[in-house]
């Protein structure tokens, strides 16, 4: 196991890029030290399962390290901040916002070009720093616009953002899209983390799986996870 881990680590270092902490130590150890630099990661799962928690901890970790963090959301800033507190994420340092309300730059779902414009502007202004972007607008935009348009939109936007020292973490609602839409969405991202629920008799277990990650050999297996106001725990799951 240790040898496999070392092999993975060496393989990833051979890619030449630095690794960016997810903010969750247990997830970092699964990913052999974090997300690859200049990459895009998609977190998939049903609504309410806790996808946002990954985004919150990722942002928090970036703020602690002095990275430029941008949170792009279709929700008001107050709602996100309340959620962060409920998940035990310290809010003494906050990211820059592009939100539906409560931020200087508005997130208008009916104008997806303005979202990409504002995103690129923010990245351009902070090109000298490492950048972390978290967004939950993938699903709403995909629902409100034709799929081919969105496919091109995300493909181009992610490509442009990755020209900078930037890691993008996006969340998507599994229950909003068809299987083919999910599959095409997964193709566009360098990494995919899936959160799901498993029925075991009368109890239900939340599971995490790394479906793919740039620079890592395919990871088989599920991990049990829990989100509480003390943070996010990830542990191996024995079937």
């Amino acid at each position: 196991m240790e040898r496999i881990g070392r092999h993975r680590f060496i393989t990833r270092m051979a890619l030449g890029g630095a690794l960016v902490s997810s903010g969750i130590p247990a997830l970092d150890s699964i990913l052999t030290d974090g997300f690859p630099d200049r990459s895009s990661v998609l977190v998939l799962g049903q609504s309410g399962i806790g996808k946002e928690a990954l985004g919150y901890w990722f942002t928090h970790s970036g703020l602690l390290q002095g990275d430029y963090c941008l949170y792009v959301t279709h929700r008001p800033v107050n709602d996100v901040m309340r959620d962060m507190k409920a998940f035990g994420v310290p809010t003494d340092k906050v990211p820059e916002w592009i939100a539906s309300a409560g931020s200087p730059t508005k997130c208008d779902l009916e104008d997806f070009t303005s979202i990409s414009f504002n995103l690129k502007q923010a990245v351009l202004k902070n090109a000298d720093r490492r950048i972390r972007i978290v967004t939950d607008v993938v699903s709403p935009l995909l629902v409100l616009n034709p799929q081919p348009t969105m496919y091109q939109y995300w493909s181009r936007l992610l490509g442009e953002l990755k020209q900078s020292d930037c890691v993008i973490l996006a969340t998507a609602e599994e229950g909003m899209h068809s299987e083919s839409t999910i599959a095409s969405l997964e193709q566009q991202f360098d990494g995919v983390i899936e959160l799901s629920l498993q029925v075991e008799g009368i109890s239900i277990t939340p599971l995490l799986r790394v479906k793919k990650m740039l620079g890592l050999a395919p990871l088989h297996g599920f991990f049990r996870f829990s989100v509480s106001n003390k943070g996010m725990e990830v542990a191996p799951y024995v079937d």
Partner: protein, 225 residues
């Protein structure tokens, strides 16, 4: 009431409904444990409270119908649970509509529910007071309850259709149907059978509403460890 409680059909319906409500409440508890977002957890907890309240309410109503007639204690007990159930059901319905509006990308106030809900709560309270203290037949007040919950159910289903999340949309449809089933079953009071049937059907609808909150799967060997 002269109907014999111990007819096999009565007993089967009662046990079925109680069993389904109890199992669904357990599922709702599990849902509240694993769903972490405020909207989902609050819905799961709401379903749990409603389910837990329905069980003694059902028992109290059945005792009232089937027990020796004229007992003030039985009447008061069933009335107390009916009142508690209606108040909790209204707050739950209102909360679910609010969550639906929040989950609508454009946060639309369907049929102006946000502006009328306080008035409807007042109307519900007046009708509850009327049931207890007015000399007018309580059935008139039941019609008011049905009007309130019927309107709430329509608003909920309409708002739910604007929610793009499959789990929440399905949950809202079932909760709307649950409100309708229980309200209608209270209308016919000459016999307890519509009520018994209402509880049985309501329990199935309630179960569907609970499990719809969760999209569960099975870990496959290919994807698993």
């Amino acid at each position: 009431m002269s109907i014999d409680l111990w007819q096999p059909l009565d007993v089967a319906l009662i046990l079925f409904a109680l069993g389904v409500f109890a199992f669904s409440s357990l599922r709702a508890f599990e849902a509240s444990r694993v769903l972490v977002s405020r909207a989902h957890r609050s819905r799961a907890l709401g379903v749990l409270v409603l389910g837990i309240l329905t069980i003694p309410f059902e028992v109290a109503v059945l005792v009232y119908y089937f027990g020796p007639s004229g007992l003030t204690t039985e009447y008061l007990l069933s009335a107390a649970f009916a009142i508690a159930f209606n108040i909790v059901a209204f707050f739950f319905l209102n909360g679910t509509i609010m969550v639906a509006q929040a989950m609508d990308f454009f946060h639309r106030d369907t049929f102006r529910w946000g502006k009328t809900n306080t008035f409807l709560l007042g109307l519900l309270m007046v009708s509850i007071a009327g049931t207890l203290f007015s000399p007018v037949d309580g059935i008139l007040f039941n019609v008011v309850w049905i009007g309130i919950f019927g309107y709430g159910a329509i608003v909920l289903v309409a708002t739910g259709l604007r929610v793009r999340d499959r789990a929440m949309r399905t949950h809202m449809k079932w909760i709307g149907l649950f409100a309708v089933v229980l309200s209608v079953s209270f209308l016919y009071r000459a016999s307890p059978y519509p009520l018994l049937l209402g509880f049985a059907v309501g329990s199935i609808v309630y179960y569907r509403a609970t499990v719809s909150l969760l999209i569960t799967g099975q870990v496959t060997r290919a994807a698993g460890n």
